[in-house]
């Protein structure tokens, strides 16, 4: 995978003394972090390896040059594995996944399924009054946009790898990082698009 190749270069970073003034380079920061962190539970050290997306977004403070963004977004899109058939799972299960903020942290049991933490950042269904505002409101998502196969593909793909659509998006790449399973992502897609879901009432 292209992304992995670019990432490899960062791994070889050596600890260079930081300049007496001025911000340290990415490479120096990486080396310091590698020295200062330790693995804990499922949170292993490879999580500190910056890939191309993280590196470019860090370097450009989330404003990548358009051409580069386009190329890397295309790379990211190639990582998405769309399942065959309908992408609409069980919206009820999706609602629970959207609410849970647990999962993938060092104290979490890796055998237990992770949550999506969607409500941390998005307003979604009317049944939850505590929701974040880091991401856009997804209120009535399917009611406003319909649930055509194209729309299902967009939602599933965005959950799988948000960076394929907007390179420096703050949204995690849930499928690409194996944080959510195929079924969980289908359930979330249903929570947003199924006409029976409270989101669309």
């Amino acid at each position: 995978m292209t992304t992995k190749l670019i990432l490899g270069a960062g791994l070889a970073a050596l600890l260079l003394p930081a300049a007496a003034s001025g911000e340290p380079t990415d490479r120096e920061v990486q080396a310091i972090m590698k020295r200062d962190f330790h693995p804990h539970g499922q949170a292993t050290m490879d999580r500190l390896d910056q890939d191309a997306v993280q590196r470019v977004c860090t370097d450009t403070r989330n404003k990548p040059p358009a051409e580069l963004a386009k190329t890397l977004e295309a790379d990211q899109y190639k990582t998405i594995r769309f399942p065959e058939g309908s992408l609409l799972g069980d919206w009820k299960k999706g609602a629970a996944i959207a609410w849970s903020g647990r999962g993938m942290q060092w104290q979490d049991d890796p055998k237990k399924p992770s949550g999506g933490g969607c409500y941390n950042c998005h307003e979604i269904g009317p049944e939850r009054t505590s929701f974040g505002t880091i991401g856009p409101s997804l209120k009535q998502f399917g009611k406003l946009r319909g649930n055509t196969p194209g729309m299902q593909r967009y939602v599933y793909g965005k959950i799988y790898n948000a960076k394929a659509y907007s390179l420096c998006s703050e949204m995690p790449r849930f499928g690409y990082t194996r944080s959510l399973t195929e079924q969980q992502m289908k359930d979330l897609t249903a929570y947003l698009l199924d006409p029976a879901s409270p989101v669309n009432k």
Partner: protein, 262 residues
């Protein structure tokens, strides 16, 4: 004297303040006024004076930057460069250094349980409450003149913008844009003095969600946990640099902690 004056101000504050500001601010303000933080300072004082370790020594001769045993205003001047250790240290990193040098304690033993819980707060938590309390009324003024202090600041700034971990977060994901919330918690922008000052003026703090006292080393550690990275070492250069960046950004704020947080 200062603490007593503060208490009076609180008591005289009009009841109807909540007309201004957000609904969340009203909660934050009321919570801050009824803080159990000082209970932890009582235990912290006893720990400060308790002989421990192979050298059977207390921490009373620990130099937090203003001379051995001087606590008044010491917290407000941290993090800073310490010549004896040849590095930048925040309060807890310095306390650890004193445990090792003055008390002769093994680093591993002293760090066995740096973060406590409601049933059993940690030594670091008690001590931080006691020491921070004695900086009330002092302006936050971390060291920024030594090259290593500037280096720590620059590293902290770079770390603040570094996208990392399984979920590609950086500090700015949550703390870079004004007016954002995570669920119902309002998120302060952490590279803007206006929003960092009130925050750094009240850490360390009694944290309602944990029902216990929490420190900056913990606060930063817990952010990395939620960023899905591996765990930063206690007292590491990374954590000290982030703390330095935040404190330097808040420079000039009058310390009024230890406070109370959600």
């Amino acid at each position: 004297m200062r603490t007593i004056m503060l208490a009076t101000v609180v008591a005289l504050a009009p009841v109807a303040v909540h007309a201004q500001g957000s609904q969340f601010e009203h909660y934050q303000k009321m919570v801050a006024e009824g803080s159990p933080a000082e209970l932890f300072a009582v235990e912290g004082e006893a720990l400060w004076k308790k002989p421990q370790g192979p050298k059977h020594a207390s921490l009373e001769k620990c130099d937090l930057g203003r001379g051995p045993g001087v606590l008044k205003g010491a917290y407000a001047r941290l993090p800073r460069y310490f010549k004896d250790a040849d590095r930048v240290m925040d309060l807890e990193t310095r306390l650890l250094y004193c445990m090792e040098t003055l008390q002769g304690r093994d680093r591993k033993e002293a760090l066995k349980r740096p973060f406590g819980n409601a049933d059993k707060p940690s030594e670091m938590e008690y001590l931080s409450a006691y020491i921070a309390l004695q900086s009330r009324g002092f302006k936050l003024n971390p060291g920024l003149s030594h090259p290593k202090e500037r280096e720590a600041y620059e590293l902290g700034k770079a770390l603040f913008h570094t996208r990392t971990g399984l979920w590609d977060f950086s500090c700015t994901t949550c703390h870079g844009t004004p007016g954002k919330r995570i669920r119902s918690s309002e998120l302060p922008v952490l590279d803007d003095p206006k929003t960092v000052r009130p925050l750094m003026a009240t850490w360390p703090a009694y944290r309602v969600s944990n029902s216990t006292f929490k420190t900056m080393q913990w606060r930063i550690n817990d952010c990395f946990r939620q960023m899905r990275t591996p765990e930063p070492d206690f007292g590491s250069e990374t954590v000290n640099a982030v703390n330095m960046f935040l404190t330097a950004t808040a420079r000039g704020a009058t310390y009024r902690g230890p406070g109370t947080k959600r």
